[in-house]
Amino acid sequence: MKEQLQDPDREIKRLQRCINDLVSLLGLPAIWSGNEPSQIVEMLLDALLNMLDLEFVCARLNDPATAAPVEILRVSDSYKLRVSPQDIGVMVSNWLTPDGEMSLPTATGQFAENTSMFPVPLGVHGEMGMIVVGSQRADFPTQTESLLLSVAANQASIGLREAALLHEQKRIAHELDRRVVERTAELAATNEELRKEVAERKLAEASLSQAHAQAVRSEEKWRSVFENSAVGVALADLNGRFIATNPVFQTMVGYTDDELRQLTFLDITHEENIEQNRSLVRDLLDGKRQQFQIEKRYRRKNGQPVWARNNVSILPGTDRESRFLMALSEDITQRKLSEEALARARSELAKVTSITSLGVLTASIAHEVNQPLSGIITNAGTCLRMLSADPPNIDGARETVRRTIRDGNRASDVITRLRTLYSKKEPSPEAMDLNEATREVTALSLTEIQRSGAILRYELAEDLPPVIGDRIQLQQVILNLLRNAADAMSTIDNGPRELLIRTEREEPNRVRLSVKDSGVGLTPQAAERIFQAFYTTKTDGMGIGLSVSRSIVEAHQGHLWATPNDGPGSTFSFAIPCNPEGLAGGEPFVNRDPSTDAA
């Protein structure tokens, strides 16, 4: 103070200069606006260095982000000593509490021998850091210099705080921007996704509705097939309960669709077909077969039977539906009735024609009678000529008359035999000798055999046991076989025509008769076909011979068959038991009814 009063001009100048410096300092924050902290500090340090003619000035800024403070140092050009922030830092650490706060507000230090350093806290408690000034002047700092330092520190604090604030603002703004961008991008992405999703959904909906339309059309088509099918269609679950039936089926069985849904197919199946039907369905469900056909009867609602031919298969299931049974059902009642009527008609015809074969009878008579008749006429003509001769040939005439009588008797015998053979007597079994019966019959058909130009041979077993059977019927059979043999050979003219009749005993207690010809023979296929009723190769025959013959033989509990020969021709044979079961000689022979055989 003393020196100040001594020189008032100098003091005024000094104070003026101080005020100028203050004004400058006060103007700093405006300059600092927008600058980085380090720039602010640098500017301040430069200002202080000049203003206060310091040797060095160092700022140590606390950076909350890092533990180490930011150090900025300015050294006067004229200072000789080397100084580094670290050096300063060492000194500074003496002044700091463990918390980093200034322990002594008015701490000083000695940097070097002639350099003292003073800290100036930044921030109220030095939380922002400090400025350390170094000076070689002994009187540093003066009052005004202290004031300047304080104001500078203050301004620095303000500036730094503002910078920090600005930084924070920037940071926040940046963060905000970033977040906005991020959000916008997110929203855009989400939007895009949504748009895609919507587009996809639209597409899916479109194809769904298209598929739906297709499905509806297809469903309509198949429904039409189902409804309008010309055969009955019925679907049932695996228990046999009807699920769906079409009108044809409903009409056939006489139930409505609703009624059928309460029923299983076995409920409406005829009793006699139930077991077989059930067994086939079981096989189907077990996988033993893929499908089956069955001709069966249903019982209509009114109890009437109706014949149906069913094709049954399994409809495979899907994930959502189990398997179904499907039956295609055709009403064959008409056909069955026709078949039965035909079978009945055939058996009637066979019965009738087995007793009287009028055409055959007539032919027999004609053939057998013609020869003696011819003889009679010739002899009579001869007789007349002889008697008209001159002189009359009485002996010759007598001879012709004798022959005439004999021939007349022959003719009569033939008629009688034929009549016996074709009489409408009830069949009666008797013990008979098959050989004798055979000889009788062959005598009867001798001319027919001769017509074929055949040589007739016999091989009749001598030990043939008697057979219980109907003589007339069995002779019919033999006659039939002989006629067929003769016919078979009638067209042969490049080989021998041989007809062999053989009888033999068959163990244990049967007899067999065979007729072997050397005729046109049989193909293996024909061998069975010829036994069918109405089969014939003759243009004028009725073809019932073999069919009836077989039924006669079978009525005797025997069987009749044909085999091709090793050479030309075929052999027809029948074998019958000597004592058919349940028959004794003299008992009426109950003829098997062919119509019951057909069932």
Partner: protein, 140 residues
């Protein structure tokens, strides 16, 4: 080729001429025919022989003398038409009259086409037979 004796006669326009040298042969397996026909032929004035089978006739010694053959169609062994073919094969030209008990027009047509001189269905009367023989011999 041998000409049968009957063709030596220029014509048979005069039926009353002695025919006792002309041999008529009957071949038929039916006994009653073999009994009755030769008598009738004798009444007609022919010499006559009868055989029970075609084979018997073929193995006989009177083939060449035969001037007329009355032949049954259906016979065991060789049939009438077969015998006819055989005779042709041997170069024997002789008139054949077929007789048969079966009413079969097809056979009749067939044998007539083959050149038979005559065809009669049994029973036939003596006048028909005579007429057939006449026709056969005059055509020869």
């Amino acid at each position: 080729m041998e000409i049968p004796h009957c063709l030596v006669m220029e014509s048979l326009k005069d039926w009353s001429k002695d025919k006792s040298t002309l041999l008529s042969v009957v071949v038929d397996d039916d006994e009653s025919v073999r009994e009755s026909l030769p008598d009738l032929l004798k009444e007609f004035g022919f010499a006559t022989r009868a055989f029970s089978s075609a084979e018997a006739f073929l193995s006989s010694d009177c083939i060449d003398q035969t001037c007329c053959l009355i032949l049954d169609i259906a016979m065991p062994g060789m049939s009438g038409p077969e015998l006819y073919q055989e005779l042709k094969r041997r170069g024997k030209q002789l008139p054949v009259i077929f007789i048969t008990g079966q009413r079969d027009e097809k056979i009749r047509t067939r044998v007539l086409k083959q050149g038979a001189a005559g065809f009669l269905f049994k029973p036939f009367n003596d006048a028909d037979l005579l007429s057939a023989i006449k026709t056969a011999l005059q055509a020869a």
